[in-house]
C-alpha cells in the first residue's frame, strides 16, 4: 500500500488533459483529441518539488457528472469515491481549455461544488492567445476560490507552478470546503459571467481551423480526401516498409545460418533455427508495417482529424444503424481490436455499443497484416497498375475493404435482429486542430512497437516452440515424412476433414490452431512447418513466400486470405469482448458468426477461383 496522496486529473473532453498528464508523470499514454479516448484507467507517479510523490490518475473526459456514457460514469464514480477498488482522490486537478472557458467552466462549477481541494490548470493558453483571447488569471482564481495555474502542456509551460500548487493543496485529513450547490442552468449562467469577467480582450481573428474545415469537411471534397488518405495509408504500409522489412528478413536469415554453422547438429540447434528463429523471425519482420499503420492512426487522432472523419462517416454508418461515433473504435480496430473495443465506452447507446463491439473484429487488425503480407508477396505479382499504385497494395486495400463491407452488412443485419433498438443520435464536439507533438507520437509508436515485440517474445514464441515440439515428435520412421508422423500432423489430419472442402491443405489446418492465440502466429507456424518439412531438401534457404508460392495453388492462397478476413482468431479479443459485455453470451455469438462467415467465404472464394481456372 503506497503512502502517496492521490491526485486525479479531470475536465471536459478536449481540454488537453492527457497531454498534461503525460508531461506531469512521464507516463506512457496515448494522446488524442476526439471525445472519449481516455477510456482506460491511466495512472502515473508525480514527483513533487518537496521530494514526495503523488499517485496521479487521468480520468476520462466528462461534460458533466450527470453521466451519459460509460466513461463519464467512471469519472463520476471515482471522484465521488464510489468506484470499487479505487481510492477517493485527495486533490483534484481540474483542466480547463483557456480558449473555451464559457463551456469548460460549467463542469468546473460542478467539480468545485464537491468542496474538495482543487487546483485549476488553465491549459492551452497559447492557443487561446493565438485566437485573440486575453485572460486574467487573478480574476479567475478569485471567482473560483481555488489556485489557478496557466499551462501549455505541449511546451511544458507552467508545469513547475502546477506541481507546487498541487503540493500546497494537499489536504489535512477530511477538509471539505462548503460551497453553494447550483442546478445546471445556474452553473451555465455563472460560467458565462465568470468567462465574461476574465476574458478582457477578444479579436475576431478568423481561426485557421475554420479554413481547414472548409476544405476537409466540404460535402464533396471532404469524403474524397478521407478516402485518398486511407488509400495512401495502406499503400504506405506496403511501399515504405519494404526496405526495412527486407533488411529484417535478411538479418533473421543470416542469424539462422550463423547459428546453424556455429552449433553442432543437435536437438537444441534445430529448435533454435527451425522453431524460434524461423517462427518468431517471420513475425518480427512485420514490425515496420505495423509502425507505419499506427503512425497514421496516431497522427489522425492527435491532429483532431479523427473527429472530422467520424463526421464524414456518420451518414454511411447511419445507413447501417450506427453513428459516426462508431467510426473511431472501428478505425482503431485496424490497429488492434482490443483498444478498439475498449474505445466503444464513449458510445452512449448500449445497443450501438454492442453492435460496434461485435463487428470490431472484422476490421483488419495489424496482426492480420503479416498473414496478408506473406501471401500477397508470394502470389500477387509486383506490378504497377497505374502511376504510383502497385497491384500488391491494391489487393491489400481490397482485403481491408472486404472486412469493412462485411462489417457494415453484419451491422445492418444485427441492428435489424439481435441488437434491434431505437435510432441513435450523433452529437460530437469537433476539437480544434492541433499540430501533433513529435514526442507524443514517438511515445505512442514506441508503445505499439513494444507491445508487438512483447507478443512476439511471449505468445508467439511459446506457440512456435510448442508447435515445433508437436511437429518433431514422435520421430518419423525412415522413408516417412516428419510432418506426417508427428502429433501435430495427426491433429491437422483431423481438422483437415472439415477444412479440405474449402481448399485448405494440411499445413494450413496446422497453422490455424496456434493462430487462435494470435493471428500472426499463422505465419510463424507455416514457417516452422515448412522449415521442418524442408529439412532434407535444399529449400530451407528460401524465404517463406517463395516456399508457399511453390506449394500452394492460387485458389488455396485466396481462400486462406478470405478466411483471415473473417475468422475470429485472437483469444485476447474474445476475452476483452467478454469483459466489456459482462458475460459469455455475446463473445460466444461473435465467435460463432465469425467462424461461419470465414468458412463460407473461404469456400466461395476457393470454388469460384477453381471454376475460373486460376
Amino acid at each position: 500500500m503506497s503512502e502517496n496522496f492521490r491526485v486525479a486529473l479531470l475536465g471536459n473532453p478536449n481540454s488537453g488533459k492527457s497531454a498534461l498528464f503525460n508531461k506531469l508523470t512521464g507516463a506512457r499514454q496515448k494522446i488524442a483529441n476526439y471525445p472519449g479516448v481516455t477510456v482506460e484507467r491511466v495512472a502515473g507517479v508525480l514527483a513533487l518539488p518537496d521530494g514526495t510523490h503523488a499517485d496521479v490518475i487521468d480520468l476520462p473526459g466528462a461534460y458533466a457528472f450527470d453521466a451519459s456514457s460509460p466513461d463519464e460514469e467512471v469519472t463520476r464514480k471515482v471522484v465521488h469515491g464510489e468506484f470499487p477498488g479505487e481510492a477517493e482522490p485527495d486533490v483534484l486537478v481540474l483542466v480547463l481549455d483557456a480558449g473555451n472557458l464559457e463551456q469548460h467552466l460549467v463542469f468546473a462549477q460542478e467539480v468545485l461544488a464537491l468542496g474538495k481541494p482543487t487546483v485549476v490548470a488553465l491549459n492551452m493558453v497559447d492557443m487561446a492567445e493565438r485566437d485573440g483571447l486575453k485572460l486574467d488569471v487573478e480574476v479567475l482564481s478569485k471567482a473560483l476560490g481555488v489556485p489557478v495555474v496557466e499551462t501549455v502542456a505541449v511546451r511544458r509551460r507552467g508545469l513547475d507552478e502546477l506541481k507546487a500548487a498541487i503540493a500546497a493543496a494537499r489536504p489535512a485529513v477530511g477538509t471539505l470546503v462548503d460551497r453553494p450547490r447550483m442546478d445546471a442552468t445556474e452553473r451555465r449562467l455563472e460560467a458565462r459571467t465568470i468567462a465574461k469577467a476574465i476574458v478582457y480582450q477578444t479579436s475576431k481573428a478568423r481561426r485557421i481551423g475554420d479554413r481547414l474545415d472548409n476544405v476537409l469537411l466540404n460535402p464533396w471534397i471532404g469524403p474524397l480526401i478521407l478516402l485518398v488518405l486511407l488509400f495512401v495509408m495502406f499503400q504506405a504500409v506496403f511501399a515504405w516498409a519494404a526496405p526495412l522489412t527486407d533488411a529484417l528478413d535478411g538479418a533473421a536469415g543470416s542469424l539462422g545460418a550463423w547459428v546453424e554453422g556455429a552449433m553442432p547438429e543437435s536437438f537444441l540447434r534445430d529448435l533454435l533455427t527451425q522453431g524460434i528463429i524461423a517462427g518468431v523471425g517471420s513475425v518480427v519482420v512485420f514490425l515496420p508495417q505495423i509502425i507505419i499503420l499506427f503512425f497514421f492512426i496516431l497522427v489522425m487522432e492527435a491532429t483532431g482529424y479523427m473527429a472530422r472523419a467520424a463526421f464524414l462517416m456518420d451518414r454511411l454508418m447511419a445507413g447501417v444503424g450506427l453513428s459516426g461515433r462508431s467510426f473511431i473504435p472501428l478505425l482503431s480496430s485496424f490497429a488492434c481490436a482490443i483498444p478498439g473495443i475498449m474505445a466503444t465506452r464513449s458510445i452512449a447507446d448500449p445497443k450501438d455499443r454492442l453492435t460496434t463491439i461485435l463487428i470490431a473484429p472484422l476490421m483488419t487488425c495489424s496482426a492480420r497484416l503479416p498473414v496478408y503480407a506473406v501471401i500477397i508477396a508470394a502470389f500477387i505479382p509486383q506490378r504497377t497498375v497505374a502511376a504510383g499504385i502497385g497491384l500488391q497494395g491494391l489487393v491489400l486495400f481490397a482485403l481491408y475493404l472486404a472486412g469493412i463491407l462485411g462489417a457494415l452488412i453484419v451491422a445492418l443485419i444485427l441492428r435489424g435482429t439481435v441488437t434491434k433498438g431505437g435510432a441513435t443520435g450523433f452529437i460530437m464536439e469537433l476539437p480544434r486542430y492541433q499540430l501533433p507533438s513529435v514526442g507524443d507520437i514517438a511515445i505512442g509508436l514506441w508503445q505499439r512497437a513494444w507491445v508487438f515485440l512483447r507478443r512476439a517474445g511471449t505468445i508467439i514464441f511459446s506457440a512456435t516452440v510448442i508447435l515445433w515440439l508437436m511437429l518433431s515428435f514422435p520421430q518419423a520412421e525412415p522413408g516417412e515424412s516428419q510432418v506426417d508422423a508427428s502429433i501435430a500432423g495427426h491433429i491437422a489430419d483431423g481438422l483437415n476433414v472439415v477444412l479440405e472442402p474449402i481448399g485448405f491443405n494440411r499445413e494450413i489446418s496446422l497453422a490455424l490452431v496456434p493462430a487462435m492465440a494470435a493471428r500472426e502466429v499463422a505465419v510463424a507456424s507455416l514457417a516452422t512447418t515448412y522449415a521442418i518439412d524442408a529439412k532434407d531438401d535444399e529449400a530451407e534457404a528460401e524465404g517463406l513466400a517463395s516456399t508457399l508460392s511453390q506449394r500452394w495453388s492460387l485458389p488455396t492462397a485466396l481462400a486462406f486470405l478470405a478466411w483471415f478476413v473473417f475468422a475470429p482468431q485472437c483469444l485476447s479479443t474474445i476475452a476483452v469482448a467478454r469483459r466489456e459485455t459482462n458475460g459469455w453470451k455475446w463473445p460466444t455469438f461473435m465467435v460463432g458468426y465469425l467462424f461461419a462467415l470465414a468458412y463460407v467465404f473461404a469456400g466461395i472464394t476457393y470454388w469460384s477461383a477453381v471454376a475460373l481456372g486460376l
Binding site: D66, Q103, T185, D213, L312, D314, A318, F426, I427, E429
Partner: protein
C-alpha cells in the same frame, strides 16, 4: 425556422428547444454542450454529398456535429 434549415455561414438565436422530441440521452448531451434558448448559433458545415446530414454548428467557441433530426428540435428566432 428550425436549425437544420439554416444556411452555412449564417447565424441565428435559439428561440426554443423541443426537449421532449429528443431521446433523453441526446437532450442531456446537448444541454451539457450549451444548447439552450437565447444562445447564438451558426451553421458551420453541411454533411457529406447532397444529404447534408449530419451538420456541424458553431456554438460558443465550439464546433458540434449533430444530425438533422436533432437539429430539427431547435427552433430559431426569425432573423
Amino acid at each position: 425556422m428550425t436549425l437544420e434549415k439554416l444556411k452555412p455561414g449564417t447565424s441565428a438565436r435559439i428561440a426554443r428547444i423541443d426537449w421532449d422530441a429528443l431521446p433523453p440521452a441526446d437532450a442531456k448531451r446537448m444541454r451539457a454542450l450549451g444548447f439552450e434558448p437565447g444562445v447564438e448559433i451558426s451553421m458551420a458545415h453541411h454533411g457529406v454529398f447532397g444529404g447534408r446530414d449530419p451538420v456541424a454548428v458553431s456554438i460558443g467557441r465550439m464546433t458540434i456535429a449533430l444530425r438533422k433530426v436533432q437539429a430539427a428540435a431547435i427552433s430559431l428566432d426569425a432573423a
